[in-house]
Amino acid sequence: MSKNFKLISIVLFTLFSFFILLKGLDKSNIYSPEIEQRKINFNFKAKYLFSEEEVFINELLNNDGMSLINIWASWCLPCRDEHAYLLNLKSLNKLNIIGINYKDDEKNAKQFLSELGNPYTNIITDPKGINSIELGAFGVPESYLIDNKSKLILQKHIGPLDDKAFAKLIKIIQ
């Protein structure tokens, strides 16, 4: 390999990294829901946590009204913090709350629910985390408020629910 070839390839690679990182900077505010793709593909199959059956997420969203998809895991501490908000939402009885149990051990997940209460209408498992990525999740916990008919995301919340996010959700629901 000649010296010039080495030099040129190193320079090209460095330039490439530079532009990628530069573009990455532009994208660093991608986390706001406006830019986010609003319609997502719910057409995948997943196993229920409490039974061996499999279901398409689409089928869980087929009544009128709204659903809240909440991605959680028993190993995730912030999920504990937000759990009370989910229980509150459940008590409103207006929402279909669907839990996606992310990369979790089933036993721990069930124990988590028996400890803290189960706010979910349905829970499906995502042991490899692939489905959550399909949904555009960045991490756990994350919640999406979805209009069942149009399958559009009305509201997306990254991180544990707090008073502010909760108030926002309530506003949209009512």
């Binding site: 460095t14 990182l21 900077l25 960045f138």
Partner: protein
Amino acid sequence: MVNQLGNYSLYIALLISIFIIIKTSLSFRNSTNVLSGNIFSLISVQSLMVIISFLTLIYAFVISDFSNETVYNNSHTAKPLFYKISGTWGNHEGSLLLWLLVLTIFLFLFTMDSKNLPQRYRTLTLFFQEIIIFGFLLFILFTSNPFANIYPIPSEGTGLNPILQDPALAIHPPILYLGYVGTSIIFSSALGAIISGSINKSWASHIKRWVLISWVFLSIGILLGSIWAYYELGWGGFWFWDPVENVSLMPWLCLTALLHTVFTLEKRGTFQSWAIILSITTFSLSMSGTFLVRSGILNSIHTFANDPSRGVFILCFLFVLIFISIFIYFFYQKTITVDSTKTFLISKETAVLINNLFMMFFLSVVLIGTVYPIFLEVINNEKISIGPPFYHKLIIPFLIPFLFFMAIGPNIKWIKDKLGKINLKEIFIFVISIIISYFFVNKFGVSYLLSLPLFIFSLFLFFVTIKDFFGKNINISQKISHFGFSLLILSILLNGVLAKEHSSNMRVGDEIKFLNKIIKFQKIELVKKQNYETLIGEFNIVDGNNSLSLKPEIRIYDQPQTITSEADISSSIFADNFLVFNIIKNDGFYNVRYQIKPFMIWIWISVLLISLGGILSLKKKNV
């Protein structure tokens, strides 16, 4: 008023910087290449100016001068004095000023330290270091000025993130920065040495000290960060493969490789090009670290400040430096004189090479794991998250041969050694390690396929490093560092395998059984402190006749309003008892997590031992 003093000192430092750059570049045309004495007084004045501005900022934090925007954003009158001071570098602007401070002080020390070295090399090093200083001054003054004013003056500040109000974290950034920024001198000096054609044994023994200094500070800095995560974040872990942790680990791996290479260069005069490449890479990695952390391109607990325009500046500056060094390396490569002495396959040189290869492998794994998600997202709009399993799967299998070579490498002779003289003692140690590991793995039913070989080889290294203390070789610093490393791997392994955890919801007065122990929730009380209220729980852990009382806290800070959990940890030489509790919105119940973490304290001790080896090595003139 005081604010202006800091601001103007920075401008003066900038002017001095321009002046020095012009003056040194003019002197290159001059054939004599003798630097006039006033350059050194200029460097002293420059350091003084930066020190003044840094002290000014500390002063503004101490007196809570809220006309300063940085102080307003990051402080509060009710904060204890200690955290007011540490708040100076707990934010973006202040931490950059700290970077600059260390840069200038290191340059000052370098010029003091290098009086006997060739003038041309010294001037060049000074020139490159001054370019870095210049870049940082521009960055600070025009994108993140710590002395920005606000008017009207607010009466109260917004506070410092409570999670950062911790003693380990107060000293973590300065120590880590000393390590990071120390690599800048290595970078400048490597460029200076390659242009002036003075990469030789005497350069190695000079730069070795700076490599050691950076390495020691970086090790201790990472340790402090880890201790902070363990005590403050309340998960009971000490390393999360968080991108920002990785970013401090990468220069460390590179620096460790450089350290071994520089030792070899000093002794044998080989590996010149490699030493230069490593020097350049180490600093580039430190700078990339600053870029990745400060630009907000990574989402992490460390991203306290993010502003893309700042990111663009550091990114451009970083790549300008990388390009300069690539071109310099390629055009001046011919100045490297290759040592003609022959080296044989079985020699210490080979052992150092193997060490370097492994370090580069670990470095690539961490680098890919950290940067790949960013690249993928930009190119493909695809989001992936890379977690511990990735690192464990790629690093652990290679750790096994690494441990083996680390055990036998230090005892091989320079230039040439014989394979035939396989040591009976070492075989004996190896057999013992196999037996112990076999019984251990059997007893605790460890299921992971690689755990048996991993135990065997880490025990092997552990015993060999102990045996080496009684050997003839006098290099005590190396023995301590290597022993520290073997202890580190062993404690991490035991800690991972033997850790136990229990989590449940309890009310005051409840009792639960866990293993042979009974956990009692005795009482809870509310205490008011200077800048927070705290709920102190009292738990008793009864194990046979022994009883242990743990008092974790839930702190409610009011500026800004945040709740943090303080774990209570009782450490002993065998295990840590770790207990943390959380409020759940369910009347009277608290979520209680109890963990037994064996050999935790040995992880800290072993890193201290690794660093101690470095410190001892610094004290010696000749290793």
